[in-house]
């Protein structure tokens, strides 16, 4: 199951040139770009591990791509995303966030139903990947 998240979730995965162009756009806007990774695909898991600190004062997208590639190398089997943070007063939020790497195989989710009071049913998503401990959820880690 191809999990989508973030700004370009409706598009097929971006190529490196497209990623470079998006980073260039972020830098032109003065946003601080950071790289994050995770192996928990749950949609509510928005706090991913940080790959180093957010990068300030960068001029060229090559610098960010360097870190993206280092992260991909270190965690070839995990989700990696790029965030751009707009620090302007009154915005102060993530302006752009998109996935730049995903595991080769994504097992997907199961829908769990829980019987509750008065015959009502609660639903919850269960990612198959999290059945294994962290770091072993996807082949090649």
């Amino acid at each position: 199951m191809h999990i989508t998240q973030g700004t370009f979730s409706y598009l097929p995965p971006l190529t490196d040139d497209q990623i470079r162009a998006q980073i260039q756009y972020s830098l032109d806007n003065g946003w601080a770009v950071s790289v994050e990774f995770t192996d928990d695909p749950h949609p509510r898991n928005f706090l991913w591990e940080m790959w180093g600190l957010p990068m300030f004062d960068m001029k060229d997208p090559a610098a960010i791509l360097l870190e993206v590639n280092r992260c991909r190398e270190a965690y070839p089997g995990r989700y990696v995303r790029v965030n751009a943070y707009d620090s302007r007063l009154h915005r102060q939020t993530t302006a752009l966030s998109f996935i730049v790497q995903r595991p080769a195989e994504e097992p997907g989710f199961r829908l769990d139903r829980q019987e509750s009071h008065d015959r009502s049913i609660r639903y919850t998503l269960h990612p198959y990947a999290t059945e294994r401990p962290e770091g072993e959820r996807y082949p090649r880690g």
Binding site: G52, M55, D57, K59, D60, A63, L66
Partner: protein
């Protein structure tokens, strides 16, 4: 982003084409791309093919990139340095030719652009590096063309595991531009094998090799020490294509520099002051830690200081614009260098040597 001149070259058909050689080979797509912003890397620049029929107008290419404007600026801004200027012009010409060859489909290898600038302090290495960054940007070899000047302290950490992130941070900041490492030989300390400088050199080498399209590294320092540095780091030496030596300035050149600086700061030397300054520089040149143009600038700064003192406490009630601009001989003659020279002719007064 400075301009988009780099990818707006148009082929000039028929200039060098034999008569009747066929239709002009202007690519319509190229005309359209003229308004798009500068692409991030050389590899992305659209280069229309140069066919046998269509030629390329060198003059127009030069004019459009405005490369020689930068070099002309360099000529007027920097006094002397003839060999350096020639080398820079040669490199710029090489890059232009390279660009045209690429368009003709002859050569796709990007030339190595890392450089080493050797010379005494104050000979204009940083200024030339700054201009070089602009030249490379205009030719499309660098995406941004900014200069990041660093020394050992900015690259090498203080404890284990500190160096790599620090060096990488600096490299990332310099990407798309020129990384200028002043006194690069301090990175390598022969006497200490476990010095973290070595780690920094390794990361530098890796990026210099793998990301040649994103960054140009310029190493600067004294000539002899740079040579030792390259001998002990052959990997570094072999990755640097251009070694440029900055000669020391002559006395006349230093005077010309002084005049240029004064002109920029809207000051004026009286004829006697000019004579005095000439003598001052002559003495200063023999002293230790003489830093060429920088010493001249410092000497001028001190002369300005004395002029200000003279004007404020001199009891002159009314000052004209001329008074404010004019530096008199007395402002220069008061220099401790003259005193030291008069007192101890022969034995240099080292504690005064650094004051102008």
């Amino acid at each position: 982003m400075e301009d988009n001149g780099t990818n707006s070259f148009k082929m000039v058909p028929g200039r060098s084409a034999p008569p009747g050689a066929g239709a002009p080979a202007v690519d319509p797509a190229d005309e359209k791309s003229a308004g798009t912003p500068l692409p991030p890397g050389m590899s992305n620049i659209e280069l229309p093919e140069i066919t046998d029929a269509g030629g390329v107008d060198v003059a127009e290419l030069v004019r459009e990139t405005r490369v020689f404007d930068v070099l002309d600026e360099l000529d007027t801004e920097l006094v002397g340095l003839a060999p350096v200027k020639t080398r820079i012009r040669e490199i710029a010409s090489l890059l232009i030719v390279d660009m045209m060859r690429r368009r003709a489909g002859l050569d796709s290898e990007r030339p190595t652009l890392h450089m080493s600038f050797t010379g005494s302090p104050g000979t204009g290495k940083t200024t030339v590096a700054l201009r070089m960054a602009t030249v490379l940007h205009r030719l499309g070899y660098l995406a941004k063309g900014h200069l990041v000047a660093v020394t050992r302290d900015d690259l090498v950490g203080q404890y284990i595991g500190h160096t790599a992130p620090k060096t990488r941070e600096v490299l990332k900041r310099a990407m798309g531009g020129v990384l200028f490492i002043d006194e690069a030989y301090y990175l390598y300390r022969q006497e200490n094998e476990r010095d973290y400088g070595q780690e920094s050199i390794e990361i530098l080498l890796q990026v210099m090799e793998n990301q040649r399209q994103d960054i140009v590294v310029v190493l600067a320092g004294y000539k002899d020490r740079m040579e030792t540095f390259f001998q002990s780091n052959p990997g570094m030496g072999s990755r640097i294509a251009h070694h440029i030596d900055f000669p020391d300035y002559t006395l006349d050149e230093l005077m010309a520099i002084a005049k240029l600086m004064l002109q920029q700061q809207r000051y004026d030397l009286s004829p006697e002051a000019e004579q005095a300054f000439h003598e001052l520089i002559e003495i200063r040149m023999t002293r230790p830690r003489f830093a060429n143009a920088r010493s001249v600038r410092n000497a001028l700064e001190r002369a300005r200081l004395r002029q200000a003192g003279r004007l404020v406490s001199g009891g002159q009630g009314f000052l004209t614009k001329d008074d404010l601009m004019r530096i008199e001989a007395a402002d220069i003659r008061k220099s401790s260098l003259f005193k030291a020279d008069a007192e101890a002719a022969g034995t240099p007064a080292s504690e005064n040597a650094h004051t102008g």
